[in-house]
């Protein structure tokens, strides 16, 4: 029985095989890989070093060592693996961009961890929202509190999709925990995509763009309030039906006239940017110095 089961798993394993029976072919193969790798790396490093000079002047870029590290990630791992499947030809730029943008399991685990931390922090802060009068304050507090884990995630996973996945997870959990916030998911998908595009346009290197992206991303928090504005009457009924009483409902609704909606959206954005700035400061003060970011 042991043998047969070994066959099953090793069939699977060999299927994607880079099992090499002949050492020679392998070494020559890997040598040509190395040659390719060197060419590509010089491109990227040159590109990066120019950018990093610019960034150094602005004082707003990420560390150059980080950039170097991440690009060696792209070069070596991705291409070495990519080349195992692709032919060893030129035209490496295609392979580069495909391999570069793919989220690997290691990144997915990181996203899960940071979202968990994000939740713990934001959840603790959002207890304020249980006192109905303070619900609008959530627009400020949640984005502010969530800046630190978000910036850390963006630093560690510089690939397309990290932020989008994060907001989807957040939206999903909010649906599960209390239907009022169900709108966070659809809004989040839109804002998440926009945020991704913003950060991508900066080549995943620009801190300014990351801050703005987080501001946009946080607009999803507005999903908490959508029922109050767009299904006004139903929401009114809900508050009364919750037992808060007629006068309370009236008072509450007068706090939230329609014209407040855009203000809340703006608040989400502004406090999001603030939260990201704080997050970046904390990153530099602690995580970069500790060698973790």
């Amino acid at each position: 029985m042991g043998n047969s089961s070994n066959m099953t798993s090793s069939d699977v394993i060999r299927g994607n095989g880079s099992v090499n029976v002949k050492d020679n072919s392998n070494t020559s193969g890997s040598e040509s890989n190395k040659v390719n790798v060197i060419d590509n790396s010089s491109d990227i490093f040159n590109g990066i070093s120019e950018d990093s000079k610019v960034n150094a002047k602005d004082n707003s870029g990420y560390n150059t060592t980080e950039i170097a590290k991440d690009n060696s990630d792209y070069n070596t791992k991705e291409i070495a693996n990519g080349n195992a499947k692709n032919t060893k030809s030129g035209g490496n730029s295609n392979i580069k961009s495909n391999a570069k943008n793919r989220l690997k399991p290691k990144d997915l685990i990181n996203i899960g961890i940071f979202t968990a931390i994000f939740f713990v922090i934001v959840f603790a802060v959002s207890f304020v929202g249980y006192i109905p009068i303070f619900i609008p304050a959530l627009a400020a507090l949640c984005p502010l509190a969530g800046g630190i884990p978000f910036m850390l995630l963006v630093t560690k996973v510089r690939k397309f999709g990290a932020m989008l996945i994060m907001i989807i997870l957040v939206g999903l959990v909010y649906i599960l925990v209390g239907g009022i916030s169900s709108w966070i998911l659809p809004i989040g998908i839109v804002t998440g995509l926009i945020a991704e595009l913003i950060v991508k346009s900066g080549g995943y290197k620009s801190a300014k763009k990351a801050i703005i992206a987080y501001g946009v991303w946080s607009i999803a928090i507005f999903g908490n309030f959508v029922p109050a504005f767009f299904t006004r009457d139903a929401y009114y009924q809900v508050i009364i039906a919750s037992g808060y009483g007629q006068e309370y409902a009236d008072a509450y609704m007068s706090f939230m006239p329609d014209w407040i909606a855009p203000i809340l959206v703006l608040a989400c954005f502004v406090f999001g940017c603030l939260g990201a700035i704080i997050g970046r400061a904390v990153l530099k003060k602690h995580f970069v110095r500790a060698g973790m970011a």
Binding site: T8, I13, S42, K77, K106
Partner: protein, 573 residues
Amino acid sequence: MQKPTTPQAQQANQQIIKLVNVNFCYQTSALMQDDEAQGGLCDINLSLNRGECVLVCGESGCGKTTLTRLLNGLIPHFYDGFSNVEKTDDVNASEYLQGQVIVDGKDIPNTQLYELAGTCGSVFQNPRSQFFNVDTTSEIAFGPENLGLPESEIIVRVQDIARQMHIEDLLGRNIFKLSGGQKQKIACASVAALQPKLYVLDEPSSNLDMASVAHLKDQIECWKTQGKTIVVAEHRLHYLRGVCDRVLCMRAGRIVADYSWEEFEAIGSKERTALGLRAFSLDELEALEMTEDVAAPETPASAKHVQAKMLLLNNFIYSYKHSDNALSIPEISLPKGGVIAIIGANGAGKSTFARCLCGLNKHFKGKLTISGYCERRKKLGVNACASCSARGKAAVCRALRESSFANAARRKLCFMVMQDVNHQLFAESVLDEITLGLQSQGKDAEVMANEIEEILSSLHLSHLKDAHPMSLSGGEKQRVAIATALASRREIIVFDEPTSGLDYTHMQRVAQNISQLNELGKTIFVVTHDPELILACCTHALMLQCGLAKDNFALDQVGRHKILEFFKHEAAS
């Protein structure tokens, strides 16, 4: 696979691991808080045959863990790095890993991690952070599920493993509620479920007590009889006696020696300590005890303190929710100013005792009383203490003073250096960390600055004062924690497993630090599984069993013998 025909091919088939001219160097920010981050590997040439059981040992930071990561593919697929040779800023430093790494015929840098899952199984140091699932059965089935094996097959494998490892009673339980040793067993089972040919273990016994270590040893022997190849990177050598046939010693990223086990044991304790290694066996420790003069670590100072005052612990009875009494000591008396080792099997209540002592458990009603004679000299006309009636120039007040401390007060009296030091470092530089400890004492800036300088230099931390505490190595972080303990000026300091996972040199350093603290008059409690540490710096011992104080004795010659007997007994059971 065809049977290899030529002798060379046959030999190649026998070889499961082949490393040729391997050079590797970590990137600085790629690794977190790892002692090996500075090191890397240099000119490694190694070949292992199938069925061999190899121990890789050396000081902290020598490259053992890096070597294991080469074998299971984490380098280069998870950890990024540069080649050792090109450590310049030159852009051509693109080759992260130089040399050939072949495991079971697979070229590691060109093989994906999931492809290696069925070849190489890895067990890591920390049982807490290895499991992906919440219940044990899922955890064991995790690997095969990932590889898409059919369900019936997986169930059969889980049953087989449970039977082989005698863990049927652990199936279907919540992993978070298991003990460290049980968690490590589940980790081994989960790796064994993939039926790999090579097992790579990275300091697997670090957080385990003696009984669990014995189980681990049994497990490794079992794998050996199944014909698997095993590579263990370890500090605690004694449990691998009779299990490993070959020993590789490493230093600074190079393999400096390659012995068979018999040759290794024959090198003698002087050379062993020079290599930074721990004792081979408890018998060796015992032999050392007999031959040398018992170097009693009691300095004259501590001996004096020991006689003067006693700590009286009352009503130390505590139990966590949903469980029986974790700790049940109605009354016990311990010497103030001593270095007291707290020993016992896992679950005996050692950590509970330490936490209760420091006042960290709410709703705990126990009391600590310090009693003894007040020895302050009285100045003429000024009362040193209220109940004192003796007067005169050189009179010494000999009234009996008792001060009693409840929970909250004990928090100001005791300082705990936790097992995971990361939990107690908050500031952004070592200097700020120590300042944090001094702030509450309301001193002026200059006095504080002097004190900080003193503390830093006494612990050899001056050159690190601007570094972020989390960027330091494990041993350095521990010293920072000790520095904060010094800064707090508290009288009782509790160490929770300070030397798990430390090599000989670092263990000696910790022992020195503890003795230094003791010379300042502090009472030290050390919760530990490490006999070498106890023999190096402790003056007394408290033995706990099932929450009760089984024995409480001084570490004179008889006492030291008792300690060794205790650990031997633990290992045998």
